[in-house]
């Protein structure tokens, strides 16, 4: 029905697109598309709805209360498989950007990490995990409670990043520490109150914890895997099919916004817009840190500028990469969230719709594509991940859920 109004010649009425978002810096693409008029220039009227939980976003998209939403990249996969909730085919025709998360630990945990292994703790990134592993071992030895770490949602990149970082250092995320979900706005307070010892969350919530004197950023997402997937535009497959033309216009509007966001000099303005009450309602200085790549990591850590802390358009950031979907599925399998008795490549193509993206943006993603294999130097301290050899990759995990069933995977993926 929206398409009819769009085609209505001369009526001037643009089709409304209702999009949900969670107040995080990486809702920027949606906010900028609306505030700077990229939506109207592409023939749609974007209506943004702020929400408080990912479960609400999922349900509202499922029932059609929202047309589309800012989603954690694993969410459309989980919905399409029906894990954690009812099965509704949800697709991602574009990505809303790369990177943007960090791992923050409490000041007292950081002090402990320095005591055990100052060199690795101060080095940050993958190395910091080694310092944490020594703390975990020391606590176990004296019979202290396991550390409690917060993340934002079971089907989130935060969950998988944090687990990857822990496991790479020899810490079993299900046995050696306790992982709990904490809503992002409550992370800093929970850290300060000592209810959790650390967390993995998107910006601005790490910077806020540093600002409150509660935490120290020990690893950024770019240090774990530079240019890694984070949020996508998620929508029901049926909505995309019934509103094909509107969907294409929506992707174009959002890609225009992403291009604007990656023009040097525009990030300060983006921070000002996002700081408004209807978006994040937080001080612009806090938002500007990650957006301009000048994140302060807290006492004891060197804070180097990182222009790629958020990437919205460069590096093919708007493409819903098949390889990213395959990696996400590999982690869902690794940690026992899904059984993996299905073909991974075909699931990934069904959910991350590079084909629809290319239909909307024919100029990109035609000419030499970014290689599907991920640059080893940028991937978790030199590990190797080739999407075509995902079974070998999964076989290589020394720490994983006991539910991991390689035989079922082999049967469905041979």
């Amino acid at each position: 029905m929206e398409m009819k109004s769009r085609k209505g010649n001369g009526s001037g009425r643009l089709p409304d697109v209702h999009a949900g978002f969670i107040p995080l810096v990486d809702c920027a693409t949606l906010a900028i598309a609306r505030e700077l008029g990229f939506d109207r220039r592409n023939g749609i009227a974007l209506r943004l709805h702020r929400d408080v939980s990912w479960a609400n976003i999922r349900d509202k998209v499922n029932v059609g209360a929202l047309d589309c939403a800012h989603m954690l990249a694993p969410m459309p996969i989980a919905s399409s498989l029906g894990v954690g909730h009812v099965r509704v085919p949800v697709i991602a025709p574009m990505s809303l950007g790369l990177n943007g998360n960090a791992i923050t630990v409490s000041r007292s945990l950081f002090t402990h990490m320095l005591d055990m292994d100052a060199e690795n703790a101060r080095a940050g990134g993958m190395a910091a995990g080694k310092a944490l592993a020594k703390v975990v071992a020391e606590r176990r030895q004296r019979g202290a409670e396991p550390l409690t770490l917060g993340m934002v949602y079971p089907f989130s990149c935060h969950n998988y990043e944090l687990r990857y970082w822990l496991a790479a250092a020899g810490i079993d995320p299900d046995l050696d520490v306790q992982l709990v979900v904490i809503p992002p706005p409550l992370m800093a307070d929970s850290l300060k109150a000592g209810q959790i010892h650390g967390f993995c969350v998107g910006e601005p919530w790490n910077s806020l914890a540093v600002e409150l004197g509660a935490g120290v950023i020990v690893a950024t997402k770019t240090e774990l895997w530079r240019n890694s997937p984070e949020k996508v535009l998620g929508m029901r497959l049926s909505w995309a099919e019934d509103n094909a033309e509107t969907m294409i216009a929506l992707v174009r509007a959002l890609v225009d916004a992403a291009i604007w966001l990656d023009i040097p000099g525009n990030r300060a303005e983006a921070a000002a817009i996002l700081s408004r009450e209807e978006y994040l309602n937080l001080p612009v200085e806090i938002l500007a840190r990650s957006l301009t790549g000048t994140v302060l990591r807290g006492p004891g850590m060197r804070s180097l500028p990182d222009e790629g802390f958020f990437v919205f358009h460069d590096q093919d950031a708007t493409v819903p990469h098949h390889s990213h979907a395959v990696w996400l599925v590999s982690q869902m399998i690794r940690w026992g969230q899904i059984a993996g008795d299905f073909n991974i490549a075909s699931l990934a193509s069904r959910v991350f719709r590079e084909d629809l993206y290319r239909r909307a943006i024919p100029s990109e993603g035609q000419a030499p594509r970014a290689p599907t294999a991920i640059a080893r130097s940028a991937f978790f301290g030199g590990e190797n991940f080739e999407p075509e050899k995902v079974l070998d990759y999964i076989r290589g995990f020394s720490i994983h859920s006991p539910a991991l069933d390689i035989k079922a995977l082999e049967a469905a993926n041979s």
Binding site: V52, S53, W54, A55, N56, D59, N62, V63, G64, A65, G84, H85, V86, V88, V152, Y153, P154, V180, V181, I182, P183, P184, P185, L186, S190, A193, Q195, Q337
Partner: protein, 198 residues
């Protein structure tokens, strides 16, 4: 909707808004549900839910701690509980669609105490129907798995002992009876042993 009589339930209400929580509390008590606990703060939520062990959880849709419950149910399927959700402003979308899609989740436009019980009943019945469906599905899946293992074991026996399929099955069955185990368990040990010896 059919008014199925529901027994007394242990109900947990998570709502930071005291007025709304009071409306819920009153509605539940008037409907003959006296066992209501109200949590107005969400710190340490998981531990509180564990210790209280409620039959049903009612949470404000505008409460970000909804995602905390999501993980609880992911980690431990044992403590999965029906959740009713209330939102006290209308966002113009039909209740029916939510019920159809949300399984145990329920979105209501406009909170009135008279509406609390019917919603609670609906939540419970949707949850139970879904739980039943899922356990049937899991049962069907594991039955299929068991049959696959039995077929494999039969093939191994037929090959190594040069016997017919019926004889192989009879052998599995008598062994299972002698050891008072399930046929699928005996079959599994044959498959495992064959893998080891291969």
């Amino acid at each position: 909707m059919g008014r199925t009589k529901i027994p007394t339930l242990k109900i947990l209400v998570i709502d930071e808004n005291p007025i709304r929580a009071a409306i819920l509390d009153e509605g539940l008590r008037e409907a003959g549900q006296p066992d209501v606990t109200i949590l107005d703060r969400t710190t340490g939520l998981v531990n509180k839910i564990y210790s209280l062990d409620p039959d049903v959880i009612i949470i404000d849709l505008e409460n970000p701690s909804r995602d905390v419950l999501e993980q609880m149910f992911q980690v431990s399927r044992m403590i999965k509980r029906p959740i009713a959700m209330f939102v006290d402003h209308s966002d113009g979308h039909s209740i029916e669609a939510s019920v159809e899609a949300g399984v145990s989740a329920y979105i209501v436009d406009g909170l009135k105490k008279e509406r609390v019980l019917p919603i609670l009943e609906l939540t419970m019945s949707r949850f139970n129907a879904f739980a039943k469906l899922r356990s049937e599905l899991e049962e069907a899946k594991s039955a299929l798995e068991r049959r696959k293992v039995v077929d494999k074991a039969k093939a191994i026996l037929m090959k190594t002992r040069q016997i017919s399929e019926e004889e192989a099955y009879a052998l599995l069955r008598t062994t299972a009876m002698q050891e008072s185990k399930r046929i699928s368990d005996i079959a599994q040990s044959i498959v495992t042993a064959a893998d080891l010896l291969a």
